[in-house]
């Protein structure tokens, strides 16, 4: 595992938060995913050794929680809320707009490698539906026009790189 020094020090710190090391499984997975971009296969054994548990204990956690992924995704992660309040306000159309903008389908990396678009369940911001989480940032009232605007912004930022 080739983790950044900052990630390693955060890992050592977070383990001290719990009287039982196994509790740090989710925090370690988050830290590794933030560093690497996904959970590489060798992370299971690495975390297991670090927390003195079995690799299967780590694997079963990765496969249970929707936020952990075992494969790389696009540079930006677009999560569109699918649940009722957002759907009532047009969430499905919002998602479709993003898919069209990047010529891709939900759950896939777009051909330019720029985004992965996903439907997720309730993001707890139903009063400003439809909502979209792009990486760490929540965007509210994202109708098709705003989705296009956000997509243009992502494309413009990609060009600068």
């Amino acid at each position: 595992m080739n983790l950044k020094p900052d990630t390693l020090s955060k890992i050592d710190e977070v383990i001290t938060h719990y009287p039982v090391k196994r509790s740090a499984t989710l925090p370690l997975l988050h830290l590794i995913q933030e560093d690497v971009g996904y959970i590489p296969e060798k992370a299971e054994e690495w975390i297991a050794a670090k927390l003195e548990i079995e690799p299967i204990n780590v694997y079963e956690v990765i496969s249970f929680y929707p936020m952990f992924r075992r494969k790389p995704i696009g540079r930006r992660h677009v999560k569109v809320c699918r649940t009722l309040s957002c759907a009532l306000m047009g969430g499905y159309k919002t998602c479709e707009q993003f898919e069209n903008e990047f010529n891709t389908h939900r759950g896939e990396v777009s051909p330019d490698g720029e985004v992965t678009i996903e439907f997720v369940e309730c993001l707890a911001s139903c009063g400003t539906a439809p909502v979209v989480l792009i990486d760490d940032d929540l965007h509210e009232k994202v109708d098709c026009a705003k989705a296009k605007q956000l997509a243009d912004q992502i494309k413009a930022e990609a060009k600068k790189r």
Partner: protein
Amino acid sequence: MAAPAQRRIIFQHIDEAGYTNDLACYQKHGGYEVLKKSVTRKPEELIDEVKKSGLRGRGGAGFPCGVKWGLVDRKSGKPIYLIVNADESEPGTFKDRYIMHQDPHQLIEGTMISCFANNVKQAYIYIRGEMPHGARILEKAIAEARAAGFVGKNILGTNYSCDIFVHRGAGAYICGEETGLIESLEGKRANPRIKPPYFPAVLGLYQCPTIVNNVETLCHVKYIIEHGGAEFAKIGTPGNTGTRIYCVSGHVQRPGYFEFECGKITMGQLLNDVCGGPLPGRKFKAVIPGGSSAKIMRFGERYKGKRKVGAEMVDYDWAVEDVPMDFDSLGMIGTMGGSGGVIVMDDTVNMVEALANINAFYSHESCGQCTPCREGSLWMKKITTRMVHGAARAEDAALLKSVADQIPGRTICAFGEACSWPTQSFIAKFGDEFKNYHETKQAPKSTAAQPLV
């Protein structure tokens, strides 16, 4: 009758211009003064205030907070843990988000008062994974509070020590169920535990006595200790004390969050006066009053029965609009106040399609350990999705009902009920729409109708 004015005690500073989420601003508004007074009082006294207040948990079940604290095993000699349930994920609910992002110190103060009252050794805030900024804000706020002596070792110079750590979830709804949350905090799959024997108050986190309280509940505790349990009990109605934050979403003119005295506002006042009524040219059709698992209410139906007012039993005959928004009234008419998430649907919505959306949610979120829930939620999703996107049949309504009826009471946790109530209530209230769907779906749709699944 016009709606009463909002009474903002928890959301007092939410969206206030110039109010920031740092310690200095919180203290400028009297922050941590209640904690300072609390640590000079006897812990039992504080628990008594909460019992007197009648405060009911704001996470969904409405269980009395004082009773919950009273059940904690204090004789085992094991450390006591407190977990803040900040895994806000019941569809339609969006109140804790604003407390954590805009007023985190209110939550931290309420948490520390509750910890001191219960001699808690360590507290964790379990925040849902999809709120990374919220987690960072809380971590920063805890660090500020720790540096100021409000959290950590020897709080405010006393012998009492207790720290708070933030723990992030990873996208699983079931972590909102308290025993699932505990499993998750232990680093496992969030499979809920069976009760008995695993009541958190006795065998919770690391098999130690554990209190799990919702974010809003703990903020109420701060208010109760500040003003006294008796004063708090004067707010709202008997048995439904304090304020409630109603989160309104869906088809209204002004969705949002509104804090009212519990039971002092009706559904009609909330939706028409406060939220501005239906969208132009539309009519209300149905409303889910307490998060997506709460049973649906149909506009036009009436609820009749007897209820207790003071010492007397009186008849009631309510339209949807007349129902007071408290735990007991909503329970009496066969639904629930739940988490306060009110989801409104107007006449552009087809109920088969709305149910298909909800079923997809529950099927995705079932943890999978109990067969009736794992399979039942999946079947209900498959049937309703097929009805919308494939061939619908008149007999599907009965089939759906039979699947839903076989789940509740046969599972380890209340998810079994939560996933079957939507199907049961949609079919009970809108049975014709399900039976006729194979015909109505052929007709051209209103241009205003949104795809829901």
